[in-house]
């Protein structure tokens, strides 16, 4: 028994020691201290509670170890006969109670602070989708979708043969990161279009669920410039492990620049619906859109997953019914995982992906769908 004790002691002590030992930092054994006032307070409270538990453990396991070593039959002891002590019972009811109260009050205070989303300077609406995040900066109108970076996606495809260790930030990189200015109070409004997701950045110590039909709020103020990574933290289906979050905190000036650039790019995209597109152009764009938005379910080869996600390769709808095809992409199919893409994709994207699906794999319809067609269906 004392052997277990020792092993446990070493393991537990090791955990605590590494928490403070900077040499182990890159091993990442402990919570991060993070880069916000809140995250540092959380870290401190975490350490305090862990130490309290550690010392209680030392006392309890210590007493046990002493009995095990000393009060064993093989030492020829005769057992004592006591089996009750009201005094001891009261003592070890009250002491833990006091310890708990002394932990609970600071925790409650901290919680009140964490839940105070008032006076935010920037508000970002974050919408979870299976399996990507949509961001909308409510003050400036910047809006984009952020999903797993193509390098990670490729490496995470079964049978790709790519060694994940060769991919930068494997599974923690996105195509479009969120950009925030440092030193400003940012408020997040979280919601979802399908199932529950959760938005979490460890370095900010904020995590909250994105619930369809409801909006949850949370806030942060980032002190240091840098790139911070997190992940979806609520099981949301097949690709739950593959919807990371990346936040870039920049100086205010850089942030403003970024906003301007985003708005300009959005304008260019919006005008794309007004011109005729060529087949190659649509196919090229379509393949990209398909890879980012559709392949997670319908698979890159268009064959879907039997019984879960239908094949588009050879699907009668894709081959024959143009209206139905565009319609299901725009509006989704309620009650299934097929979501409405009307808000996420612009006309050109949808036209491209429809064209792509109708001409990729064994679907060789030769049809070209123009953004204008999509636009007209949107208006109905």
């Amino acid at each position: 028994m004392n052997k277990i004790q020792r092993v446990m002691g070493i393991l537990f002590g090791g955990a605590l020691w590494t928490a403070t030992g900077p040499a182990w930092a890159e091993w990442e054994l402990n919570l991060t201290e993070g880069v916000t006032e809140i995250s540092r307070e959380v870290f401190d409270m975490h350490m305090t509670v862990m130490w309290i538990c550690f010392w209680i453990g030392v006392i309890v396991f210590g007493a046990m170890a002493i009995s095990i070593v000393k009060h064993r039959k093989s030492k020829g002891v005769t057992p004592a006969t006591f089996h009750e002590s009201t005094f001891a019972e009261i003592l070890w009811t009250i002491i833990p109670f006091v310890i708990l109260i002394s932990m609970a009050f600071p925790a409650a205070k901290m919680l009140i602070k964490m839940e105070d989303t008032s006076d935010a300077e920037i508000t970002i609406k974050v919408t979870g989708h299976q399996w990507k995040w949509e961001y909308e900066y409510l003050d400036s109108g910047v809006k984009f979708i952020s999903s797993l970076h193509a390098d990670s996606r490729e490496a995470a495809t079964p049978g790709s043969g790519i060694d994940p260790t060769t991919v930068d930030n494997y599974l923690l990189e996105v195509d479009n990161p969120v950009v925030l200015p440092t030193g400003k109070k940012v408020r997040f409004l979280l919601t979802s279009s399908d199932v529950i997701h959760a938005w979490w950045i460890p370095a900010f110590a904020i995590k909250k669920d994105a619930i369809p039909g409801f909006i949850n709020e949370m806030w942060t103020v980032v002190d240091e410039e840098g790139t911070y990574r997190g992940q979806c933290a609520e099981l949301c289906g097949r690709q739950h492990g593959f919807m990371p979050i990346v936040v870039e905190a920049r100086s205010e000036a850089e942030y403003d620049e970024w906003v301007t650039a985003q708005l300009a790019a959005a304008e260019v995209a919006a005008s794309s619906a007004d011109r005729e597109w060529a087949m190659d152009e649509l196919m090229e764009r379509g393949e990209k859109v398909y890879g980012t938005y559709c392949a997670a379910c319908h698979q890159a080869n268009g064959n879907g997953i039997a019984g879960v996600f239908p094949a588009l390769n050879g699907s009668p709808m894709v081959l024959e019914d143009i209206e139905g095809h565009i319609n299901i992409i725009l509006n989704g199919k309620p009650g299934t995982a097929m979501q409405a893409f009307a808000a996420q994709l612009n006309d050109a994207d949808i036209a491209a992906v429809v064209t792509y699906e109708r001409n990729a794999w064994e679907n060789e319809t030769g049809e070209i769908i123009q953004p204008a067609t999509v636009k007209s269906m949107r208006i109905q």
């Binding site: 919601t191 039909g213 909006i215």
Partner: protein, 288 residues
């Protein structure tokens, strides 16, 4: 070391009905599942399972009744049955509690949040700005497009009176059993059972009215809670009425003595439980 209590407990040797029960339940539920998935043979299997279940119930209860009538049970066994029944009823109470909880949660939390109260400000502002209904509601998307509200007058009130009266007639029958006044028992039971069936009938009338007004199970949270609560209650009334009908038949066959009538009491407890649930429904679903 010397004393030994002399009582013996009746432990049956072997029981074949439980395994029949398991098989029938599996057929019933598995068949129903396939039916829900759109399989053609599902409902056949389900009905076979249901039939088997009914056979099992007759067989099992038949055995118990025979044993009881032949005096194999003493006060001791009787007490076990009583405990079994009372804790079963308690578990039923908790089943209803889940649905009452849902009603409570929807009214106290989810609907107000959708309306922007409490911490739901942003929810209302950004997601459901046009939603204003308080209660009853079929939700921000106006599901089923009916905002019909089932008032407590007249049908539900009449039904309340009926159920409460049936509780009284049943108590009357119970007293009669203790004094072994057989015709009073029979009349008490007949009245109770009839009131029960009238209740179920009126509940059906009420459902027709609701459907006529377009208020269905699919009419948002009001329809969901209304029909699930009253529906499960109605099923329990039906079950209770069947139990009492069996008691009626047994009484006519001369079962039950002033001391030994546990089955009757179990059915009566069940009936009172159904009564109390109805009072809860009447208050929380219809009046408030």
């Amino acid at each position: 070391m010397s004393e030994v209590a002399q009582q013996r407990y009746y432990v049956p040797e072997a029981a074949k009905w439980p395994i029949v029960g398991s098989i029938s339940l599996t057929m019933l539920l598995g068949g129903f599942s396939s039916y829900l998935n759109g399989s053609a043979s599902g409902s056949t299997v389900a009905f076979l399972g249901l039939g088997l279940l009914v056979i099992m119930l007759f067989g099992w209860f038949g055995t118990v009744i025979r044993e009881s009538e032949s005096g194999m049970y003493q006060a001791w066994e009787d007490k076990s049955f009583r405990m079994g029944m009372s804790w079963f009823i308690f578990s039923e109470v908790m089943f209803f509690a889940a649905f009452f909880g849902a009603l409570f949660y929807a009214r106290e939390f989810s609907v107000p949040w959708l309306l922007g109260e409490g911490s739901g400000g942003s929810t209302h502002q950004y997601l459901w700005p046009n939603f204003t209904e308080i209660w009853p509601t079929n939700g921000p998307e106006n599901l089923g497009e009916s905002d019909f509200h089932m008032g407590w007058w007249p049908l539900p009130f009449i039904n309340t009176v009926i159920l409460l009266t049936s509780g009284l007639t049943l108590t009357w029958a119970h007293h009669a059993i203790k004094s072994q006044n057989r015709s009073q028992i029979i009349w008490g039971l007949i009245l109770t059972v009839c009131l029960g069936y009238i209740f179920v009938f009126l509940q059906g009338v009420e459902y027709m009215e609701a459907y006529h007004e377009g208020m269905k199970l699919t009419s948002g949270i009001y329809g969901s809670t209304f029909f699930m609560l009253t529906g499960f209650h109605g099923m329990h009334v039906t079950l209770g009425a069947i139990m009492l009908t069996v008691m009626l038949i047994r009484t006519m066959r001369g079962h039950f003595t002033a001391e030994n009538h546990f089955a009757f009491e179990a059915a009566a407890w069940y009936w009172h439980f159904v009564d109390v649930v109805w009072l809860g429904l009447f208050i929380f679903v219809y009046i408030l």
